[in-house]
């Protein structure tokens, strides 16, 4: 579904990703792990079109999207839950969700989806008319995930979705990830610090170090890998 080849990305004159290649098959959950500053967020930004790529190819569902602007990529079915959430602070929670459904038309379906998301994150229900800027850290993270789901993507890019969430909600989030993947066939790329849980849900995983992929394989194999345990799972 997603095919990345020799991707080089950076900021100004600083190159952060040095030729990354990987594959995300349709219906897969792929985890991307790596320490601080490895370039995970940079990769997600490049995939979603927030920053331009220097060279390389990004193919999505057979189409070259590497040079498309972010909004076109979303319309192709590629949604991102960004690091730091990037909510619309002066819009209400509900309006944020509606923005998530920007490319969709059917009012009734949109309303149903909002209902479904509020069921998954009941905390948001009480805050529906609150401005997103007033949300607590975790509430905001829930909203960011909900908002991305509203677009009915085919591929969901998650940049640290569990960030700032209470353990019980982290559980919910991973449940939702698995469920969406299982029931709706949603393909997911997942960046996580929480390597344990990420590897638990992921089918395959890539390990990023200083802008290059140093290791990849089945999630279960990597879980067993002692180096990975040592480095990314806190021993």
């Amino acid at each position: 579904m997603l095919k990345v080849e020799q991707l080089h990305v950076g900021y100004g004159s600083l190159e952060v990703l040095h030729g990354i290649s990987f594959d995300v098959p349709e219906g897969a959950i792929v985890a991307i792990l790596g320490s601080n500053g490895a370039g995970k967020t940079t990769l997600m930004r490049a995939l979603s079109g927030l920053i331009p790529i220097k060279s390389g190819k990004i193919d999505f569902a057979g189409k070259a999207v590497g040079r498309l602007v972010a909004e076109k990529r979303l319309r192709e079915g590629l949604a991102l839950v960004p690091e730091g959430r990037d909510l619309f602070g002066s819009l209400t929670v509900r309006e944020n969700l509606l923005m998530g459904a920007y490319t969709r038309r059917s009012r009734t379906e949109i309303e149903q989806d909002i209902e479904r998301i509020l069921e998954r994150f009941p905390r948001l229900k009480t805050r529906l008319q609150a401005h997103a800027a007033s949300l607590s850290g975790g509430e905001g993270q829930m909203l960011a995930i909900g908002r991305a789901l509203m677009s009915h993507p085919r591929l969901l890019l998650l940049d640290e979705p569990s960030h700032g969430l209470a353990p019980i909600i982290v559980e919910t989030v991973f449940e939702v990830i698995e469920q969406l993947n299982r029931e709706e066939g949603l393909t997911i790329v997942l960046v996580e610090q929480n390597a344990h849980q990420a590897l638990e849900v992921a089918h395959t995983a890539y390990i990023l170090q200083s802008g290059s992929i140093v290791l990849n394989g089945e999630a279960t194999t990597l879980t067993a890998n002692s180096a990975v345990q040592e480095l990314y799972m806190g021993g």
């Binding site: 900021y11 004159s13 600083l14 920053i51 730091g84």
Partner: protein, 365 residues
């Protein structure tokens, strides 16, 4: 005009070599700071030698040209003042022209009407401006963003109207600043006088902005909440910025009156105050070099354009340039803003980066 910092933090490139902000520990930093020093010395030398150069080029009209150049100095002061307030302490105030105008009137009133010595006049003008800065700064603590911008813009036009009202009730058509000390009637000494002040204030500001006070202002600009949580008294530092900025603008205003030998209510006008803001935006918010470049661009370019021959004859075609000057200036301004959205000083930074990279390549590390 929200209070977001000028740089898009999320995606802006890492400006490691911003000589204004980094310390001096690294080799590159040391080289950069040496270069800064060399630049300063070269600049001062150039300023000293400029009158002679002007004699060579302009001959008889040299004094008049120097008089024009002195104006840049006055604008640099005003831009510096606006930059401290807006570029560093992040107060989007458009009120500086009010200080500019009031100080000119105070000086003129004291020396022309009351016959006080010029120096007393200058001193009083600066003090009155500073006080006014305090008075304006106090409500500004509660008002922010575009609201503050509009409120202070209103202040400027109101003050302008009141100064004009004073003129008319006093029955004068122009307010002559007559009894200047002799040496200020001389273009050359006026030039040296103004630029000596400019160099001093740039020097002092440079240190101030790199001191505890400057850091507090930048902290307020970057993040008010965090600044407060780390013990920075927002009230105090914002007020200080207002007062310092007002005093400096006041100095610039009284020098302007000295320069033009008249005070006019148009000094406190929307056009004037927006010009100050334009200077620092064109030059670069939060950058000393930016204040200089911006003052030259905004303060001097229209004058230069005014020197274009009009009508300009291009082949058989006659162009009435004089009616187009404002538009040409606007267009140039627009182009600069499009190509240097964070100011002309970014040009300097880029050049600096490039210069700095070179030696370290062949360097010892």
């Amino acid at each position: 005009m929200t209070q977001k910092p000028a740089v898009d933090q999320e995606l802006a490139p890492d400006v490691v070599a911003q000589p204004e902000l980094t310390g001096k520990k690294t080799l590159g930093g040391r080289l950069a700071s040496q270069r800064v020093w060399l630049g300063c010395i070269a600049g001062i030398l150039a300023l000293i030698l400029l009158p002679m150069l002007s004699d060579l080029i302009f001959g008889g009209s040299s004094d008049f040209q120097l008089h024009h150049i002195s104006l840049i100095g006055i604008f640099i002061l005003a831009a510096l003042a606006q930059n401290i307030l807006t570029g560093y302490a992040a107060q989007p105030s458009l009120g500086n022209a009010a200080f500019f105008g009031v100080s000119a009137y105070v000086l003129t009133w004291l020396s022309s009407d009351l016959g006080q010595p010029y120096w007393i006049g200058i001193l009083a003008a600066v003090v009155v401006s500073a006080l006014l800065g305090l008075i304006v700064g106090t409500p500004a603590l509660r008002i922010s963003g575009a609201h503050l911008a509009v409120a202070t813009l209103g202040l400027v036009t109101t003050v302008g109207a009141l100064l004009n009202f004073w003129d008319t009730t006093a029955g004068r058509q122009n307010y002559d600043l007559s009894n200047l000390p002799d040496f200020l009637n001389d273009d050359r000494t006026l030039y040296y006088f103004i630029f000596a002040i400019v160099v001093c204030l740039l020097f002092l500001s440079y240190h101030l902005l790199h001191s505890r006070v400057g850091r507090a202002w930048i902290a307020i600009r970057d993040n008010e909440t965090a600044a407060e949580a780390f013990g920075i008294n927002l009230t105090k530092y914002k007020l200080q910025a207002f007062v310092i900025s007002a005093a400096m603008t006041g100095l610039a205003g009284s020098l302007y009156a000295t320069w033009a030998t008249t005070a006019s209510s148009s000094m406190s006008s929307a056009d004037q105050t927006i010009a100050f803001l334009a200077m620092i935006v064109v030059g670069g918010l939060g950058s000393l070099t930016g204040s200089i470049l911006g003052a030259i661009f905004v303060g001097f370019l229209p004058l230069l354009l005014g020197q274009l021959p009009s009508p300009m004859v291009i082949g058989s075609f006659q162009l009435q340039i004089s009616t187009l000057i404002t538009g040409i200036y606007g267009l140039l301004l627009l182009l600069v803003l499009i190509f240097f959205p964070s100011g002309l000083s970014s040009l300097g930074t880029q050049a600096g980066n490039w210069l700095q990279r070179k030696p370290s390549k062949g360097g010892t590390e």
